[in-house]
């Protein structure tokens, strides 16, 4: 996905005609590393990946989840609302509304079972 810069939009990017949209609604792209652990890693068949998340407002964990759910199959099943999935941003426990930024590490994992 190609980042749409503010300058490109102002100077007539066909996807974002400045005559039609305020600056605040110009999509931005946030690139994060997503990590999957334990049972989730196996269920999704993925250890980690880079993800470019396009949003109109300030991006949060919820935007990552929405994008992943959009893949369907195991992704929508495992990350469905109500599933016991924990998330961490930069290795700190986080929530759906936790903001994300470029270069952040977003990890999804099941409830912990150590000790």
């Amino acid at each position: 996905m190609r980042p749409i810069s503010r300058a490109a939009a102002i100077f007539g990017d066909p996807m974002n005609d400045p005559a039609d949209s305020a600056l605040a609604t110009i999509p931005r792209v946030t690139t994060v590393r997503v990590v999957y652990l334990a049972r989730l890693r196996e269920a999704l068949g993925c250890t980690s990946e880079g993800l470019a998340v396009a949003t109109e407002a300030a991006p949060s964990v919820a935007d990552v989840v929405a994008m992943l759910r959009g893949r369907g199959g195991a992704w929508s099943h495992e990350l469905a609302a109500g599933r016991a999935v924990r998330v961490a941003v930069n290795q700190r426990l986080a929530r759906a509304e936790t903001p994300i930024g470029d270069g952040d590490e977003v990890a999804f994992f099941p409830p912990v079972t150590g000790g």
């Binding site: 652990l37 016991a84 961490a88 990890a107 099941p110 912990v112 079972t113 150590g114 000790g115």
Partner: protein
Amino acid sequence: MTVRVQLADFDAGAEIARLRSGDRGVGAVASFVGTVRAENDAAQVDAMVLEHYPGMTEAVLDDLVASAKTRFDIRDALVIHRVGALAPGDQIVLVAVTSAHRDSAFDACRYLMDFLKTQAPFWKKERTPAGEHWVEARASDEAAAGRW
């Protein structure tokens, strides 16, 4: 204050001796050792693999130990948690706390274990005669952490 995540087994006696050595103010040591049971949820456990989230695990445990130090009148604390392949009878975790008097050591030791169980990113996968499966989190562990 020491936190270690390691593949190797540990010697609880030696670790406790090191923890309290040189501190003449210690009058109490409380410790907890968690081990692998040969049976879980009525199924025979032949082996276990412990996975963790490197980096976050150590950060969570460091924060937990720091909060125990703030919350309880303790002298020092140690958490060692193993990862990798384990067998029934193997040691998994050691928590040890030193203090002047026993109440703080008992309380802090239990506090550390209760939060380790619900906060630290470790996951157990058991191998039983029916195959491999990830251990499910227990509501009773959440309740135990909730009492603090």
